[in-house]
């Protein structure tokens, strides 16, 4: 009987495997699975660094630094990069660290930057003002990170003040010469923001001359842009670099995390989910992890089945040759 099973499996049409993948990933959409996300140090370090920038800015408001998000992702990897971007942006907005977004390799980047903020705003619309002071302790605890924003901004906390809290520089075709120029002078490359308004006139950009005034650069990417920063920009600008990337890229980034050339590392959807946990939201990252569970178990099962049938076949071949 077992023999038949493996033989059938070996001849099985690929499309059946595809179908099972589809089903396995769909189940969590109908049956929610409770999860506990473990936050890893790579992620915690980034969170702490942004909190630190907040404290520094409070101590020295005349010399306030910004966080820069480099959007090097586009539609095809949005599954992993969108939640990372959303979690980091949400964190900056919660505690009030001004942040800018720009893109140097992905033309769609700035557009996605806007979409991400839209989705944050949409999520906030579902939260009522009185929830922050509700009697339900669980709810209060859940909203504690966001309450910092509510306390600071008051009634109109849902509005994101463009130019004060956040600015979108836009996209430029760029090669290394231009990127290195931006270390000291970014206005030669970005005279305007992505809508065509003069960039230098925004309040949060008043004291920003170039990358030197970005305390932290977060590179969110699905391709190999990390080395560009590590080799050409951050040693000169003195900014810290954090790397949020698709799962594929993460193992390659660990040597730089080890050497502290990057101070934080978010790896794929897992990293996004960890960050979401830290900033107290449940968005695409944590929801996606529910499906990841079954998907991974399914892949592991596939590997085991494949190897069993491989071993079976090898044994059979050996037996045959003995005969």
């Amino acid at each position: 009987m077992a023999a038949n099973f493996f033989e059938i499996m070996e001849r099985l049409d690929r499309r059946w495997i595809y179908l099972t993948v589809f089903v396995a990933l769909s189940i969590p959409f109908f049956i929610p699975i409770p999860l506990r996300i473990e936050v890893m140090p790579e992620c915690k370090d980034l969170h702490e660094r942004i909190e630190e920038i907040k404290q520094q800015n409070e101590k020295d408001p005349d010399n306030a630094k910004i966080v820069l998000i480099s959007i090097s992702w586009s539609a095809n990897v949005q599954a992993e990069c969108w939640p990372q971007h959303e979690a980091i942006a949400e964190h900056c907005l919660q505690i009030g660290v001004p942040f800018a977004a720009f893109s140097f390799i992905s033309p769609e980047g700035p557009q996605f930057g806007e979409y991400v903020l839209d989705s944050i705003k949409r999520r906030w619309e579902g939260i009522k003002d009185e929830d922050f002071n509700s009697d339900d302790e669980e709810l209060r605890e859940k909203l504690a990170p966001l309450k910092r924003r509510y306390d600071r901004m008051g009634k109109n906390w849902r509005e994101i003040q463009y130019g004060v809290e956040y600015v979108n520089w836009g996209y430029k075709y760029m090669d290394l010469a231009a990127l290195m120029t931006m270390i000291s002078d970014l206005y030669g490359i970005f005279p305007e923001d992505y809508k065509g308004a003069p960039l230098q006139d925004f309040p949060m950009m008043k004291q920003v001359k170039g990358f030197v005034d970005c305390a932290l650069i977060v590179e969110i990417t699905g391709s190999g842009t990390l080395l560009t920063w590590v080799m050409y920009v951050t040693p000169q600008s003195g900014s810290d670099l954090a790397f949020a990337c698709t799962g594929v890229m993460a193992p390659e980034a660990y040597p730089y995390f080890k050497s502290k050339q990057i101070i934080g590392l978010l790896s794929g959807m897992d990293g996004a989910a960890q960050y979401e946990k830290l900033v107290g939201i449940k968005a695409r990252g944590r929801k996606g992890m529910e499906s990841q569970n079954l998907a991974h178990l399914w892949v592991i099962l596939m590997v085991i089945l494949g190897n069993l049938s491989f071993l079976y076949k090898r044994k059979k071949d050996r037996d045959d040759s003995k005969k």
């Binding site: 499309r15 430029k172 050409y232 594929v248 730089y256 502290k260 050339q261 929801k287």
Partner: protein, 269 residues
Amino acid sequence: MADQVQPTADPPDARRARVRTAELAVTGVLAAFITIYIVVRIARADDTSQRMLMLQYGLAAVCTLAIFSFLYRENPIYRFFEHVLVGLATGYFVGIEVVNVIIPNWWNKMVGAKGAPAEWSWIIFPIIGLLWYFQLFRNPRWNWYSRIPIFFFMGYGASLAYKGFFNLMFGEKGQVMDTFRAVLPFTAVGAWDLINNLIYVAIALLVLSYFFFSFKHETNPLLRRSAASGRYLMMIAFGSIFGTTVMGRMSLLIDRLYFLYHTWLGLPG
């Protein structure tokens, strides 16, 4: 050559026709359902903007399902949408460069828009840039001119490699600098760290030793063992890449399912 192209185990024509009909029928039924669903959603929407949104969601869902149909078999619907994608991507890319770079960074500077003085000298840069277009000529006599910008960019990129290399390897937190790790495990402090450091330095050196090319690996006493083990140790890195790639690829699909189930079909979640 023709006989090589023909697959040997063709199903009989009759069977193929039956499969064809079944495929067409299933496609037709699915298409009808999707259309009806979209129309119903639009009809039941509250106002114009909602109706617009439902139409847009429907469009996105059709695109998603059309691409998924590739899993069953390469088909004309997939091919059509694939061509549309290539077109949209190219058009968007060129358009965004025009409005994001050419207008603000060149045109505005040259004609002096927004109160700045006009700098007509900027006209020269696109003229140099026009040399790229000689690539369109097949004739080497003309094609040659396109090498001027290509090699200009190559030249300055190449010389930049020095800066990058030394920043990466020998900077304050450089990769070589970071490999200087204390490895003698006979101090009281952090024995675990020391062991890890030893493993770390050893693996890095062994892997590097695999990439020596101008020595005979078999006869060189140092390289014989180290290069072979280097290859095995690299497999650890490749294994972890495989592991995280599974997560990456699955995320992509989860994202699409999320769209289909929540955004389009409107399931709670």
